[in-house]
Symmetry: C2
Subunit: 177 residues, 2 copies
């Protein structure tokens, strides 16, 4: 079965600080034309920092869910920034930890039906504390949680963030395998 679609036209509906919203017409494999709503995002970088059987987790208010949630440290790529550089920068800014080495863990597409975001996830197993440098308008609490407890928090539905769930289970599985 032919699966590919072709872009016929594109209109920028909104250009914001985090997202750009595009409305596109796409030609389907059967020749029909369908509307495709696309949220463009510059990409994110995240770090699973594991130290002494514990993982560094942040508590951060996330407006779309109107609540504080648990996540691994992460942030948006600056224009032209390499994902690994963004991951190191965000780790240090948000948590005060600096690492000399990041290993690639996995890249994820958060919701491919409408967003083009890629979240690049790295693993750090060695880091030193150099002091937090949060932006004026950033409010984040970071703390170490035992890996086994983090896994139970996912089981209990207390951790839902996709990059965090993917990173923790990929890491746990790699240690078991």
């Amino acid at each position: 079965m032919k699966l590919e679609e072709q872009k016929i036209s594109q209109k920028i509906l909104y250009e914001g600080k985090v997202i750009t919203v595009l409305l596109c017409d796409a030609k389907l494999p059967n020749g029909h034309v369908a509307l495709r709503e696309v949220v463009h995002h510059s990409g994110g970088a995240a770090v699973l920092l594991v130290h002494d059987g514990k993982v560094l987790l942040e508590r951060q208010f996330r407006f779309p869910y109107d609540k504080v949630i648990w996540e691994i440290p992460a942030g948006k790529l600056n224009k032209g920034e390499e994902p690994v550089a963004a991951a190191m920068r965000e780790l240090e800014e948000e948590t005060g930890f600096r690492t000399a080495e990041l290993r690639h863990l996995v890249d994820i597409y958060p919701s491919p039906g409408y967003t083009d975001e890629v979240i690049y996830i790295y693993l750090a197993e060695d880091a030193e504390s150099v002091g937090v440098r949060l932006d004026d308008d950033e409010f984040i609490n970071a703390q170490f949680v035992e890996l086994a407890e983090a896994e139970r928090m996912i089981e209990r539905g207390e951790i839902n963030d996709a990059k965090t769930v993917a990173a923790i289970y990929k890491y746990l599985y790699s240690k078991k395998a």
Copy 2:
């Protein structure tokens, strides 16, 4: 540290078929006001179908990435539809497999910085083929892949979909634990 933000105002920028885009003003913990761009989505339901050491994967063109990607069967919740019902419906429509029992695996927040989507993921370990019923404008290939091969596809960067990565590693870890 106080983390909570308060919504001050909300404007609907766009109401589409998959997403609604909202622009909101939020009062931060320090009293500052910041713009929050929110993509509202009705939620998704997905099924990890495992049979005889194989997992059912789909190949589907995803317009935002301009390519065909691998995913577990999934779809958008209809208005008022229970996630588990949506999961059963999408599994049968897209792959032709019907299952009597779905077990809850994990719920994920794909990208909490801007979207309020929740993806509800279920596990099916027993299913029978009843024939595919794709919509006219749906183009999806489904096939069984050995779990070990699916894991290698993630390692090689050939599977990136967040729900698929989270589901496969959570399942693999549960079998190892």
